[in-house]
Symmetry: D2
Subunit: 357 residues, 4 copies
């Protein structure tokens, strides 16, 4: 039980259902003295908002965050920071026909199996909307990391067969196109691909990449709370993620040690590496290089095509999903990956303060 | 700090360095009344032991587990189960020349950056030997799951370019060959590949697959302690893992929703799925299908070839590693994947007891 | 850090400052299927409200609780229950002169020493108002316990030198008098005593007793999460508590074993005890008898009499506190003791579900 | 479940039954670089050992602690410190007749009610012997606190009706007499009292006082992990404790605010207090004064006098306890109070490192 709490020193507790009163989060353990504003947090929330992007659902979610506690005269007080986003767009009629049917690819069946019943309105707690709380919490973490020169940036690196070309990588481009890709050409190509899929009442998988720069060596706690282990939990806790990779990821299976080992060398007095196959993590501890992670998102399970499924009475039925659904998850989820990464790292960053007497 | 504790209801705390007095673990929270013996736990430990397998290091580690508490008259009492494996093979001279040099691909530099110094003998706490404690703890968890008809099985599915052929899959074969592969032909081919790499003083990456059968629907806690999130942490906490995949894993990036969605249907009164792209987890909760996960292990970083690196005085140096090292990690690590999976699932299984009034 | 989270299976996270936007709490881990309403929770909050009692401060705090998540069609869903009480009465001018001065008996100096600054408006996070969140969370726990026949009742057993007479004990009386005492005569006498103290610009200590009935034997987790240990933390976490006693409490120092041991005997097939010196807890585990605990509250530190203190510039100053303050803490705090007791027991009650296979 | 884990940053997990292989503890989260030896820890264990004191049981427990991990070249490495005390004195025949009978004042019945069965040999996990693990862990914490000038000292302040006279307080005396009292005259009087009780086959209650000096202001985490709340859990987790008091404790019930408030004043540039009724804790945070706590221990429940009780078959029976039992708990438990206090404070001390950016 009690799976809505994350972190050990920096702890967030999220709450809220898709069609309830709102979505919220409490961040406990943020050190005192950090300057932070609602506007700062709002910029993160705006990035996961639909409506601002062509391929996102046309719902008008205001998603205005309100800080309810923990900040005094513009600074964190060391006390819990409670934030809430009221639910304003709740056309509950949209989802009524799903009350008794289990959508393929969704948690409906699992929730019923677990709890005996569920909030069938818009996915309830298992809705993607739940991530709004985490994004707000992760924005606080990102603000904290900023203070120490650590920066976290996520983007969409692939949609279906379309993959960004590293030679065209442009950070500025991430915020310019509707698909959060750092490669304008790939974004255009992916847009075409998605358009075709939508015509076919289908959806696409996607990949989000996240890079952390400026993290000093020594962050991460052996044995179970290794940096990659905590990131693993953080990223897999995002709905629809089916794979998490650090550094070279699955490619290491075919690699040889003589190539995969990143040789150390001294660069301007700092221990550096010639390559970064490890993605900045060795033995679960940061090595001072950039942290590199990738998350593979499955295709949006809500598709308009008629599907076979069962209902809660144990009958085989046909299901047609209506409503508004993104054809791809990555573009809106990239900020969730970014903020969850920031939160996980900020927690370990604080925990590291006790590593030496 | 305090990263050697794992689990919420079923909690393990591991301890021990490679060349200290021993390796151990305490399992707290195991329900009373479970029959368990040292022999049962030993069978798991024997699977990670070197010496019994051709391609593993020739060290003779006795690795005899001793149960120190928590069992009375052959049954768990509900009190902490403490287990210890004494270190018997400690030729400390083997590692002396590594006291001041950072091995590429290892945690040496990270430990020094974090703690200011480290136990340089055999990797200390970051040694693969640390996993003996987890294996013992996971064996207890596996015994607990067995009681409820849940079975966990891991094996090596790929070594370098050699991949098992699903059409030749044979569970019995896993225990027969030195590489823990369920495909005798692939095992033979992989053995040739490893022999060649060893001649080249090199090492290979590998992939471990783990399957959980018999797990009922409803296990896993939304939001952060989803079944896949907890597994993600559990598996990434194993050294050398660079990717964790659930179900189709990274392949979902290129998938379409119409194919990736596993349609539900009723099979003999049970909610079933035509396919299992999801790997048995939807929205972080088990759906009653088999749980499928894969872990990608990087090549053994300890290779005999001379490498470039730096020492703790910040000098560029050449390093030649001596001693005994496996050319591939997967075969010995597969039981670690299996037991960590068992432990993570057993914990969530117990936590689920509070899902309903 | 992160000290606003309490419980292991049933977990609450509170937030909010006295003069911020509101006070709130999220309860994670409540099993699904429990009927609960805002009205039910409100009855608990009303008991800690000032204004309804003669000797409480005349502030008009509406203290209306709003359930923001976790309840669907009148029942808990197993997801986090978020509750909020908006702050409506915030005459911030009342407290302005305390911005730089440390009130004796308050946490002002400690907060500054810890965090470098503090919300000086009404005590901020250290205000008694913070307890509103816990009371709401504890009301959920009380509702859960009710389902299993467990009932928790707290009352004021002493105010200054006035102590309730057990021979006049009347449960109904607790809700009838302004001092929450189960003895009308003692309540009248205590009221006289408090009136005199108020004329002298002074305040009184008090004692709250709490009784838990219907708790089965076997609740409480050895070694550190014994029933009394968790209750100890829960009750000491309430501001102004300086002693917690279980059963005979401090009187055991002078007792003899032959008297203090509660002999067991069979009563209608149930293991019972002739006496209950132990207060229902043996070895940290409930024994099936009533749980008896007492909390000693210090006198309200906010008194109108001029006091000597220092300010944040390190100067000795005189302080005169204005505003509205209760002359005694127990009457309003009794519901806090009751709900914290309920929460602690509900958590251990759920944890006990894993005691056997 | 899982109640044998204590602490958040500095975490201990204890294990072991009275008549099993041994008693042990793992301390995770101790910062690297702390000098510590087995001899240092042994001095703490020796203080809880029977045999060295006239009124303690005549068993010859060697109680030699062995450090199994976490220390390298005399210093903590930041990795878990595992310590074990082998059980050497196990005359299991002594306790055989208690296998089916519930001793009054003991946890026997509760364990059976909880787990379905229990280790009846010497109390199993609920034996006082379990505290050896905590004492070893607390000794590490005491060593850590020493590094920062914090000193923890516990002693017996009362046995039955005999109370130490503050005017005769002598720290040196604590280690000199068999009853750990800081007042030689009181110790002599208490010895007479105990001798008389032993003749009457009876036992006495006792009080242990603990003083912490040198703790800076600002330690303790609002709201639930207040310094007094964490101490409350720590001390109540020690068997036989029925009351915990901070500062004036239960006396505050009869106190007035004008007296109970400790006025602040500046003393050599430091915020100080004229009195210390608060026992060094205000609002759950240390105020820079000495921390004062008291624990009331019930009389030893094992008495030789025949007692009425029931057996596990639900029959009323007479019970005569044999074996070796102290007539009073305080003298041997004082070091347990001291080390649990040290551990709780060390944990909060480390947690405070994240109070500010």
């Amino acid at each position: 039980m009690a799976g809505s709490v994350f972190g050990k020193e920096l702890v967030m507790t999220t709450w809220g259902e898709s069609h309830g009163a709102g979505i919220g989060v409490t961040v406990d353990g943020c050190p005192a003295g950090l300057s932070i504003t609602e506007e700062y947090i709002q910029t993160y929330l705006d990035r996961r908002k639909p409506g601002g992007r062509d391929f996102a659902t046309p719902r008008q979610e205001a998603d205005r965050v309100r800080i309810l506690s923990g900040i005094f005269e513009g600074k964190t007080m060391g006390t819990p920071i409670s934030m809430m986003i009221e639910n304003t767009s709740q056309r509950s009629g949209d989802y009524g026909n799903l009350a008794t049917t289990y959508r393929p690819g969704h948690a409906d069946f699992g929730y019923d199996a677990k709890y005996g019943f569920r909030d069938y309105r818009g996915g309830g707690r298992s809705s993607g909307r739940e991530t709004a709380g985490r994004v707000a919490a992760g924005a606080v973490a990102a603000r904290l990391l900023e203070e120490y020169g650590v920066r976290v940036q996520a983007y969409v690196s692939a949609i279906g067969p379309v993959r960004c070309d590293p030679s065209r990588f442009d950070t500025e481009e991430i915020g310019r196109n509707a698909l959060a890709m750092p490669d304008a050409a790939a974004a255009a190509e992916a847009a075409e691909y998605l358009k075709k899929l939508m015509e076919e009442q289908d959806s696409s998988g996607s990949e989000v990449t996240c890079i952390v720069t400026g993290l000093p060596a020594g962050i991460g706690e052996p044995v179970f709370d290794k940096l990659d282990a905590v990131l693993g939990q953080a990223i897999f806790s995002i709905g629809a993620v089916k794979a998490v990779e650090i550094g070279d990821g699955t490619a290491v299976v075919q690699a040889r040690g003589s190539v995969n080992n990143d040789g150390f060398y001294m660069k301007e007095g700092v221990v550096s590496k010639h390559t970064n196959h490890a993605g900045g993590i060795l033995g679960g501890i940061s090595d001072g290089s950039d942290i590199l992670l990738r998350a593979s998102f499955k295709p949006t399970p809500s598709i308009f095509r008629e599907q076979e499924t069962v209902n809660q009475d144990g009958e085989n039925v046909k299901l047609s999903i209506r409503g508004r659904h993104d054809p791809v998850i990555g573009p809106r989820a990239s900020v969730v990956v970014e903020t969850m990464t920031a939160f996980a790292i900020a927690d370990l960053f604080l925990r590291n303060r006790s590593s030496r007497i």
